[in-house]
Assembly symmetry: C2
Homo-oligomer: 431 residues x 2
Amino acid sequence: MDVDIGNALASVASPGVSRDSLERLDEQVADAHERIETGMAEGEHGYAALNLPERTDPDEIRAAVEPVADAEALITVGIGGSALGAATITDALDSDTETVYLDNVDPAWVSNRLEGLPLENTAINVVSRSGTTAETLANFLVVREAFEDAGVDWTERTIVTTGDSGPLRDLSDRHDLPSLKVPDGVPGRFSALSAVGMVAAAVCGHDLEALLEGAAAEAETLTGSLFDCPAYAYGATAYALDARGAGMNAMVPYAESLETYSEWFAQLWAESLGKDDLGQTPLRALGVTDQHSQLQLYRAGPRDKVVTFVTTRESEDRSIPATEVEDLAYLGDASLGELLEAEFEATEASLAAAGRPNVRVELERVDEYELGGLLYGMEAACVLAGELYGVNTFEQPAVEWAKNATRGLLGGGEFEEAEAVAEKTELRIEQ
Amino acid sequence: MDVDIGNALASVASPGVSRDSLERLDEQVADAHERIETGMAEGEHGYAALNLPERTDPDEIRAAVEPVADAEALITVGIGGSALGAATITDALDSDTETVYLDNVDPAWVSNRLEGLPLENTAINVVSRSGTTAETLANFLVVREAFEDAGVDWTERTIVTTGDSGPLRDLSDRHDLPSLKVPDGVPGRFSALSAVGMVAAAVCGHDLEALLEGAAAEAETLTGSLFDCPAYAYGATAYALDARGAGMNAMVPYAESLETYSEWFAQLWAESLGKDDLGQTPLRALGVTDQHSQLQLYRAGPRDKVVTFVTTRESEDRSIPATEVEDLAYLGDASLGELLEAEFEATEASLAAAGRPNVRVELERVDEYELGGLLYGMEAACVLAGELYGVNTFEQPAVEWAKNATRGLLGGGEFEEAEAVAEKTELRIEQ
């Protein structure tokens, strides 16, 4: 990926960061890079994720999915980091395989998603590192039952990705399922480029080597200066803008195929940096759609945001038919792609003209190679930002409390968190 | 809708609002309500939207869609407020009619969405007040051509909703298409309960009367005190929390069917209140999915957010099959609905325990009546908040700049905004 931070400079935007400030920040970037390199070299928790382009074995993943390689549909059962990486990749790329992600436990929705799938030719991809994630295991039990009800042997169509031990590992061993391991030292939100994110891509027939090569090329750029490394330029700029008042970061791809990528980025950024009362809040948006929804706020609301555009230099196009209506004649001389491009440039300029900071991330096109680079680049940007904030990027302690309370409420053990639920303060205004 | 603001009180959360402050704020609410009532009575621009439950004629909408009432699929061509209200309703409710919303101009995506639709039995719903919206008109021209290429007469399958004049009105007259009028005085984001939002619902066979009755019941609650009116309680609390530091409002429905509602709310809130450097930024999230993505940030990041939960008291359920795995036995005693409910209560308590403000919006269930109430209630909440901020709730001047620049770039006239695009400040970091 290439990054253009020109519209984040103090000469353009407020908040903005001056070139002098960037030069000073670059000394911190050099130190942070040293820390990151050490973490990578020693395979430390979290930092180990940045070694995935070398560590992940595409052959192993393809071998595991071989029994279902001709599946018409794929149900991935996982939540958070166990779903978003995979969904980002398969939603971005074309495939004949229909993909369903069961990442919620809404009963009506789960039933709807399962209905109409050709179960006899559907694969199941179940992902949970601990093997105890309540939502994932509940959904997996539901999916298993649906297969049994349809007279389809789920054990012949299921691939498991989990840790070395736990209920899902036991179950996988008992039924002799093809299984893959969630790599050690890699938090879920950093696992897109491991089996966690790539089993679905393999079933859909995507080019796993190209995904990893794109990521490896991005890894090559990690150096001690933000001026030489797109990922660090992005992470350092986002951090610097947050410190200057841009507490929000709106991720706005100008490609529908990258809509899920925005969700993936939102998890990466929120869960990694949101701690110790710190962290920039990710906003998920989409160009051009949200020009008609969020742009008013981005351009004229509080000066508390940076907008990140993601654009591609190459893409499929479709011409706009000419029309007899004079006022619309200009459209007939253009294509949808040209309209999309003009809307992007106009929106970018519109924010700059209003002094609102924005950053452009450019991809060549949306394919495996570029996507691998984008995912790796944003992970590296996030790790750098975590160093600059001084937070523990790779933990997520605030998620545990609600997990314990849930389990307690459902009778899955004694958890004091469950008691707090009954003590809710009420001030009800009823219809 | 019912609203519970207990967890937004200063005794629970920081930022939070004390009961004394709410009492004082209620005097401003009384004044604002008087302004709103006057605006409604005189049919003033914007305020007129709150009269829609009485103004909208379901028979007229049903008559317009009668020629396509048996359509297998419906393509709605519109963007922003011309799409989100309709999509919120049809995505929330079950129907046998497949719905496609062309609210973006990404060429590959538009082509994909059109592929595989049974065009000979597909209806087209094109919506643009001005009749000149570039994205909508471009997509409409593309859709028309696709129908022509398939040998299907689009003029027999198209319903137009537009203003009194403009290219789309001309075109509708020329081809004698069934057409409806965007009501006067109703900005797009407030038009869900007019033909703009309800044509799609009518084609899908939803109960238009129930939508309007639910909205009318909500309108009945508008009174001079936030303590008697759920909509005002919501709007006033959101405003008060913003004033105390919660510059973001995360909308988190615990129902997949309400995911699009979050997008609708995001437009309503952002475009109405985001001006004069003011306005609370809406975040779109979804329970339980985002517990594994955003909750870490919401609970432990900066104290700059209020979380709004939307829950239902009644819904379809699905039991979780029992399992032989001991550690998961507790799940087999529950249902997906009970798990969803426990996760919601746990998350709400988790935020309260960390002193993070949150508000609960309760619906009886997701049906036409309750949805009408929710949409109307949030619109009234937004109008109230606009009064409290003192902004012009019903305009969106910041969107115009980019529209002009786009048109200029495409050769659709002379616009000085287009020149700014060429003057971009660059600071590129390339791979």
